[in-house]
Symmetry: C2
Subunit: 122 residues, 2 copies
DNA sequence: CTCTATGCAAAAACTTTGCAGGGAT
DNA sequence: ATCCCTGCAAAGTTTTTGCATAGAG
């Protein structure tokens, strides 16, 4: 879906910064932190974080924190998927699959698994 | 298991601060952040974090980050259990259960689920 | 006596806020 | 003319580090 439509649906005013930001996340294939994209951003970090906050409030974007004190963001998708963060190489993988946990009545927004990935695991 | 034994097994020198710290986590029934216990601590925050680092390196304690920029710590148990963090009330629940994800070959250290808990979910 | 642990204060890393200027309607 | 978005700089929050002192063996 186009960025313009996404913002319009949420009644968020379209600006250059918001369009650029949302497009980055829309076309990204993995969660990104501010640091990951700061060199490609044409906006100040204040603008980045302020708009991220708006996007999160409007459920356009979800976030989670990794072991390295950073926050990662990605487009909120319908499909349940978990993130695996490797404590050794710090890589983040998206894991498709189902959680078999007794969480009826809970609204699950994010699943983050940490550990050591297959590559790093000897 | 006694704190003294735990430290001895890992060849960590027993000190007053380490004993106090490990006992707090040993008898806690949920993960705790520095802020949660700072008023009860008789040590400086530098000592807290330095010893936590040692405990983590020796696999006595595991940690994860929540949405509120804090790190939570708990005794590393053998039993797989996940944490559910409510974005509304910020409460942390320990969830017993199994993950049915294709993660063979991965070493899973922590599972953190965020969302809205049953109580807060209307 | 030597070696490590601790407290204090300062620094570091990431994120948020205050404020004044700029753009869009 | 008004409203809100933005950039810049400063402040805030949590965690880490440097250094001198204290403590254990």
């Amino acid at each position: 879906m186009k960025v313009e439509k996404l913002l319009e649906n949420k009644s968020i005013k379209l600006t250059k910064a918001r369009k650029a930001l949302l497009e980055i996340f829309l076309y990204a294939n993995k969660p990104l932190s501010y640091e990951d994209i700061k060199d490609d951003l044409s906006m100040d970090k204040a603008t980045f974080y302020r708009n991220i906050t708006i996007f999160e409030e409007e459920n356009l974007i979800s976030s989670f924190e990794s072991n390295n004190k950073k926050r990662y963001f990605e487009i909120l998708e319908k499909s349940n998927h978990a993130h695996f963060i490797c404590n050794t190489c710090n890589d983040i993988e998206c894991i498709k699959g189902q959680l078999a946990l007794g969480l009826d009545g809970y609204d699950i927004q994010n699943v983050t698994i940490t550990g050591v990935c297959k590559q790093c695991h000897i």
